[in-house]
Amino acid sequence: MSYKWNWGIFFQISPDGTHTYLQLLLFGAGWTIATALLAWAIALSAGAIVGVIRTSPIPWLVRLGNAYVELFRNIPLLVQMFLWYFVLPELMPQTIGDWLKQSSNASFYNAVICLGLYTSARVAEQVKAGILSLRSGQRMAGLAMGLTLPQTYRYVLLPMAFRIILPPLSSEFLNIIKNSSVALTIGLIELTAAARSMSEFSFQVFEAFTGATLIYIIINIVVVAGMRWLERRVAVPGFISLGQPAAAH
């Protein structure tokens, strides 16, 4: 191999003059985490609403929810990023469009909204599956006790459904962290982008990507551990068996 390894590169000063390459990667990881967390807040709230209306007894709401999920699931994330970043400002009235294009951190906000709505469709699928996995007697019992339909969802169905879908939700959370790397195409310097710029400035391609890979693995391990803790924390004794091994992790 003609490749020259140099692991010391991480502690050398990067072209910005003040920070080392390692710090550059860590800033990238910070943007990755910030993007993923904010997008997750959108995904969880929008996904819960869409998932609920897809199980509601009102036909046009169900159709609306289905259309929402199909729309966000059948267009590649990269294309959605470009639609939000390049196309949306053009379709807006002139003043709003210019404001969208010129605002600082535009790529960050775009990435958060795009990733949040993209993931919300997946969360909605899980929420729907969770609600449907409950016996229909639960809904009937709630209504028979005099709860309104929203109350039945709030106090009977959703607390159980969310516990059931916690494992698939945690893998969606891992996905949102990974998917945030697509935002490099609209100029967000997250972890993968930071590794790529490090490789371009220092020519130490494989060290840069190894660094990024290790950081992704560490983030993954922390998230998985946190989710396991949460699963044990919210488990209802006798209802959802925790002992069974998860099929996919």
């Binding site: 699931r73 267009i75 990269l78 294309v79 998917n179 890979t213």
Partner: protein, 230 residues
């Protein structure tokens, strides 16, 4: 707002978009799916084997790939494949490989990790008694796998494998980051050349949407059909 839309730019670039771009996308999707399923099945067999080192190596590979974003994996292989080529052929310097081959290796090895998990679930869905029955009939490991286990595992998992293929079809758009001209790459080149971002990106989104939606509906119908027969 749609008043100054230039629909003509789409018509003019149709041959380029579909004959160059979409052909690349479809070829990459089909070949990476085929390769990914073959390697994924072997990985699943390795993960389930009781040869001590083998299952750990396969498991480590799958977990490593699955914890990395696809974009990062594309970058990894983009720089790694020339060195792998040098290593295989014994050449004196890294080998230049074309964009298609580089993308194909990347997606095959990346998707193999995901297909592995699907096939592992498929193999585990076959009752243990069948393995024992095969052994009692005197079949060896490979015969039992090829004649008894894998055909059933594969058939049980066909809907999941096809859904993964639709995801792969959408994911191939990410070759954009190494400037390869797939369908989306072609659309984006026309968009930038003619300054027609709105038209081209909306058109690309519509094409992906229609193909993915049609394919996923077909998979759902297929799933129902298979469910009745079984």
């Amino acid at each position: 707002m749609f008043a100054n839309f230039d629909w003509d730019v789409i018509i003019r670039s149709l041959p380029y978009l579909f004959l160059d771009g979409m052909r690349f996308t479809v070829m990459l999707t089909l070949m990476a799916t085929a390769g990914g399923i073959v390697i994924g099945t072997l990985l699943a067999m390795a993960r389930l084997s009781n040869i001590p080192g083998l299952s750990h190596v396969a498991g480590a590979y799958v977990n490593l790939i699955r914890s990395m974003p696809l974009v990062l994996v594309i970058f990894w292989f983009y720089f790694l494949v020339p060195y792998i080529g040098q290593w295989i052929t014994g050449a004196s310097r890294p080998i230049q490989v074309g964009a298609f081959l580089s993308a194909l290796v990347t997606f095959t090895l990346f998707e193999a990790a995901y297909f592995c998990e699907i096939m592992r679930a498929g193999i585990q869905s076959i009752p243990r008694g069948q393995v024992q029955a095969a052994q009692a009939l005197g079949m060896g490991y490979w015969t039992a796998m090829a004649e008894i286990i894998l055909p059933q595992a594969f058939r049980n998992m066909v809907p999941v494998l096809l859904t993964q293929t639709i995801i792969l079809f959408q994911d191939t758009s990410l070759v954009y980051v190494i400037s390869v001209t797939d369908f989306f790459g072609a659309a984006s080149k026309v968009a930038q050349r003619d300054g027609r971002l709105v038209e081209m990106y909306l058109f690309a989104a519509a094409v992906y949407f229609i193909i993915s939606l049609a394919a996923s509906h077909w998979v759902r119908r297929l799933q129902d059909r298979i469910a009745i027969i079984r």
